[in-house]
């Protein structure tokens, strides 16, 4: 069986890092849910801290001059907490977990892996449903050949 899409492999590696966020002495938070994909069921988002990983898009990095093409894929991690402060802590814990195991990400994103911006998609979520959301971007670069 051929290798799966690099985007899937990077998502799998990110999920493994997210699963390392388990509170204790190392992390401030212990999200009950860490998953690939956004939940469609409102009841899911209503329960506790969570990290949802999402593929966003892929771009060609450079015009090819040979048989290899360089790509860059963008991913979002939706970090959910019960307060604004907690959501930031979930985001920070995820970043630290990624840094602690960055070699695994570089193994699949062979041309570089880095974090991007963190944004607030809607500051009113805390008033609407009692949850705060921060979206952290990750960027993975890789090469594809025939």
């Amino acid at each position: 069986m051929p290798t799966e899409a690099k985007e899937n492999l990077i998502l799998d590696a990110l999920l493994l890092r997210a699963q390392a966020v388990t509170g204790g002495a190392t992390y401030n938070t212990n999200p009950a849910t860490k998953a690939i994909g956004l939940p469609r069921d409102a009841a899911v988002i209503s329960s506790g801290q969570a990290i949802y990983l999402q593929y966003v898009r892929t771009s060609l990095l450079r015009l090819p001059s040979g048989p290899s093409h360089d790509y860059e894929a963008i991913f979002h991690a939706w970090c959910v907490g019960n307060t604004d402060r907690e959501a930031l802590n979930v985001k920070d814990d995820l970043l630290r977990a990624v840094r602690a195991g960055e070699a695994a990400l570089h193994a699949v994103a062979t041309h570089g892996f880095r974090d991007g911006d963190c944004v607030i998609p809607d500051p009113e979520t805390i008033a609407k449903i009692g949850k705060a959301v921060r979206v952290q971007e990750f960027i993975g670069a890789y090469q594809l050949t025939a």
Partner: protein, 99 residues
């Protein structure tokens, strides 16, 4: 002098007819409860769906109504997240989050 509202005397009897029991602080009164699923956070390529629980109360019914207090709606525990006066101010929309 407190504000007066057109038809104020009719509001609570109307809520008593088809409202649900809500307790905030020491007061229990009937309010309209709306439950709605809605995309609450939308980013570049996706959105999270959340469950919005909103009460409509006669303004001034609950003296203890402030952000962060507990609200019990038909036996279920919520936290008040926001209160907003509606239209002429005779009724208040209360956003709640499940505890």
């Amino acid at each position: 002098m407190p504000d007066t509202y057109f038809g104020a005397a009719d509001i609570q009897p109307m809520l008593d007819t088809f409202g649900v029991s809500v307790t905030i602080g020491a007061v229990t009164a009937k309010c309209i409860r709306d439950v709605e699923d809605e995309a609450v956070a939308t980013a570049e390529d996706g959105s999270l769906v959340g469950r919005l629980v909103t009460l409509i109360a006669k303004t001034g019914t609950f003296p203890a109504l402030v952000e962060g207090v507990a609200a019990t709606v038909e036996g279920t525990a919520y936290t008040v997240k926001q209160q907003l006066l509606m239209e002429d101010g005779a009724t208040t929309r209360v956003r709640c989050a499940k505890v």
